[in-house]
Symmetry: C2
Subunit: 567 residues, 2 copies
């Protein structure tokens, strides 16, 4: 049998796209991106989510490298966790490399990692692949897609892109190279589906520049602008406008400071000397000559903006006359946190501006007409919508159909599915690789699974009720009143009657089983083959009975866990 | 001192608006609306939230009645809870009264409640007030605002409204009466702030009709349309279009069936005979002659649509060729659930249509230009933005400023604050009434407060760890290995080593305190004044030690609760 070519997406849900895509030929493989995902509302306690790296770990001898499209968390953030399990060289453009190195250094992984800087139109030959980066415009500079030449044909991975013809960094999507690739024939296109629900074109970053200029024109007090720490283009925009309006800028918050420093060093942020000043230094200037750039657009509780909103930022106290700008849109699931932050900001009398009111943000992803343009330019034989939730993938597929592609040539893949090309055609094969999420919680990577999350959700609903019953071995008598321990079930101080009833119920329940009706000891019924009081069996029966009573009294279903101690 | 006039809003956050507004003159009061609120993501286990009714309860002798603007849950849903605590007559238009009566009957409260039907332009004289309902258009028929004539001047409460000139029920906002009121002079306007963030006008329901017609024109299989059970106008629209395209309609889901039945009986839904059929009967017709109306637009797990999406609806199995329409927008906080439902629907191969793709829904609230029109028509002396989150109230106030009102004449109130008019001016007085939310969880009304919710959130994060240590009274010896009970902390089956370490740690911790270094009993240090082993003190110390060890091993912070049993 001839060698086959495979595409295997791993990870990917929510807004964050496919976070790791395996390209495999004849057993040799490269990965496109290695990003993390953020937990949703029903994953309490989870810090981050990793794409499933077990397939890489099991085949590490065949893994040739990681090719990174750009420096956003959802494309590089899993490297510190995946590299120790599946080490391989990392290929990234200069800015992405800088951001990755910060991460690896923090975890003492930099020395052990082989890093390569790549650049648009410079082909890397690696195993059976020729990988050529091409420039795309996105919300961070130095983003590239990949044209991957394989023995079975050309693959094109667009990365996250839009066709912004007036981007702030001047780096437009390489339409010429895309046209050429399309002309030469492309086997399969993997294209960014994130905005497949949105009609028309994404507005250019130039719109944001205009909006920011209006903000600076009108503001009479301080201007506080929040955005993603990785949105280097937006930070550049703020610096440009601040210089134009003679305001000093302080950069606030750890991740914002780190990224800005890095981008300045590498020359991706350009700023007139003296524009950026320290936060303390800012106090020397009058309010109308001051601006602050910080994080907090997602309502993250520890971010600079949210601390300011709740009056617990060490250095910045909000006041009437301040103008606050949220230059980002809420990631789905974050709306409540964002709205609360907005409400708090308004309560300070600040003039608050956000996307709903004025175009201080545009998406980094192309809308439907741009997705059509990409499909048209590449004119692939097969199409794989890539990045975005399932419905966006399906809608992106429908766009390809509108452009004339046959439904059978469009493959909507789920994490862990394998799309295989054999030189004649393509098919999703029956075999899969592990594709479930890997959760990170504290020190634990992968130890928390569905059952623990289910327990956490249940505990959140109605708390728990532990009941400790001490039984004398010989007599079966209950010593002490059984102890009831609860949290999250009722307000204990107001529920003493109920708690006493539950305790009494537990005592009676056990004694009914260890005594005769006349109150005389008879523990024979509750002893196991070894002659011991079967405390596990007793606890199980007591659990049901206590849960029923708790439900009857409160219509709540706490997690009930009795413990029968035999002494 | 002369009697004063007071406005006191109670409840109100999220999208749901002010749910109860007290209007008080000389100690006599009426309420506008009595609605419930829905819990947000950080209120686990809470079923619903009530506006704080303690002020009504404490002044029930002065309470003249509840005036209801319309029949939505967030305007009538608290009546079954509030009426038993603060009984008073209820005044509502015919449809709202019908919907209220269904609720009161379910709770056996109908017989004890005095109900009055009111109608637009028919004045009710009650105590010092003359209350005149006026028609407004909203997403349910028979919505009215109130012009409330008081000894100190006219108050106008707009209810939730838009200026839809082509509504599906033909009931347009009574512009003429509003103009007349404005002409005669209005002391204060309370107007709906919900859409104060949105520019322009809300599109007319006529847009939805056109979109629905296109859906019916193009669909070749079944059409399944979900909307709010209370959105009678939308249901009417679907029935109209279905009749036009010769489709039979089944109404699915308890609340949808109840509301439809009620609206049909009262004549608020008009339908050609034979259009509505039972779900079972539907099977007799081919797919292209069939439509289903159901709930589930918010991704509610027990709703008909969500059951269908997850393949567990008893009667309806989704299939390729079905067209599914979500005719509503997600209430903030529900986005994740809605998006998941959409993803599942797409996985069935259904053709899924929703607001992002096609205008199958419009808001029931007026946008900024409509808010301006209302302000202009009424031209009040004072303005109280009403309904919507804090930022919307502030933005609504800014709109009034744009129209020339003085900032000092605009009052953004928080729940429980009192706006007082004394015949000369207005002021928010220092005194407040209880305004915090009252949570309903199962049978409990108001027993769950901030501390229990905090516990629930903490339990959701990292679960709990209970440790039961049995200590012999005389010797201080630990009997048995201490029992460790956890849920939501670690996956116990994979964590036996950690759990054993914690158990051993607990035993050693106690014995270090009850024994000398040479292993001899010395319980004197742990006995209290009564000579008993102080198990509470021991448990407290053990808690800290166990929590520290658990954190060190896992970087997680479960709720730790040791129980020391002395026998």
């Amino acid at each position: 049998m001839n060698p086959t070519l495979r595409i295997i997406p791993l990870g990917g849900f929510g807004e964050v796209g496919r976070n790791l895509t395996v390209i495999e030929y004849d057993g040799q493989m490269i990965c496109i991106d290695c990003g993390l995902m953020f937990p949703e509302g029903d994953m309490p306690g989870i810090d981050i989510i990793l794409p499933n790296f077990n397939y890489l770990k099991d085949n590490v001898d065949k893994l040739l490298g990681y090719f990174i499209t750009h420096g956003h968390e959802d494309h590089i953030g899993a490297l510190p966790f995946v590299l120790p399990n599946a080490p391989a060289p990392v290929y990234a453009t200069r800015l992405a490399r800088g951001l990755i190195e910060v991460k690896l250094k923090e975890r003492k992984l930099l020395d052990g990692t082989e890093m390569h800087t790549i650049a648009p139109r410079e082909v890397i030959e690696i195993g059976p692949f020729k990988v050529e980066p091409f420039r795309v415009s996105h919300s961070i500079p130095d983003t590239v897609g990949f044209a991957i030449d394989t023995p079975l044909g050309m693959l094109v991975h667009t990365a996250e892109f839009k066709f912004d013809l007036t981007p702030v960094d001047g780096q437009t999507t390489d339409i010429h190279r895309l046209a050429e690739l399309g002309q030469n024939g492309v086997l399969a296109l993997l294209s960014d589906s994130t905005n497949a629900e949105r009609p028309g074109h994404t507005p250019s970053e130039a719109i944001v520049k205009e909006a920011m200029e209006r903000v600076f024109e009108r503001a009479s007090g301080r201007i506080i602008i929040s955005t993603f720490a990785s949105n280097i283009s937006r930070v550049q925009e703020v610096l440009n406008v601040a210089a134009e309006f003679d305001r000093k800028v302080a950069v606030v918050g750890r991740s914002m400071e780190n990224n800005t420093k890095m981008a300045l060093e590498l020359g991706y942020l350009k700023v007139e000397p003296g524009t950026i000043v320290g936060l303390r230094e800012l106090e020397k200037y009058p309010d109308e000559e001051v601006a602050i750039v910080c994080t907090g657009t997602q309502g993250e509780p520890t971010s600079a903006l949210v601390r300011m909103a709740h009056d617990n930022h060490r250095d910045v106290q909000l006041k009437k006359g301040d103008t606050v700008v949220l230059s980002a849109s809420p990631i789905p699931g974050n709306e409540e946190l964002v709205h609360r932050t907005l409400n708090e900001l308004f309560k300070h009398g600040a003039n608050v501006l956000y996307q709903a009111l004025t175009p201080v943000h545009v998406s980094g992803h192309g809308n439907r007409e741009e997705l059509k343009l990409m499909l048209k330019l590449i004119s692939p034989r097969y199409f794989v919508p890539n990045g975005g939730e399932h419905r966006m993938l399906v809608l992106h597929g429908q766009i390809a159909e509108e452009l004339g592609m046959a439904p059978d040539d469009i493959y909507v893949l789920e994490s862990g599915q394998i799309l295989e090309f054999d030189g004649r055609g393509a098919a999703i094969i029956e075999d899969t690789v592990p594709g479930e999420y890997i959760y990170v919680d504290g020190k634990g990577v992968g130890d928390i699974g569905a059952s623990v999350l289910r327990d956490r959700r249940r505990l959140a609903e109605h708390g728990f009720l532990v009941c400790v019953v001490t039984v004398e071995d010989e007599t079966g008598e209950v010593l002490h009143d059984p102890e009831i321990i609860t949290r999250g079930f009722v307000y204990n101080a107001d529920a003493t009657e109920l708690l006493e009833e539950l305790s009494e119920h537990a005592a009676n329940f056990i004694e009914e089983r260890t005594m005769n009706k006349d109150g005389k000891t008879d523990t024979s019924k509750v002893r196991n083959a070894e002659g011991e009081i079967d405390h596990v069996m007793l606890a199980g029966a007591l659990r049901q009975s206590l849960a029923a009573l708790a439900y009857e009294r409160t219509k709540r279903r706490p997690v009930v866990l009795p413990e029968v101690v035999v002494v």
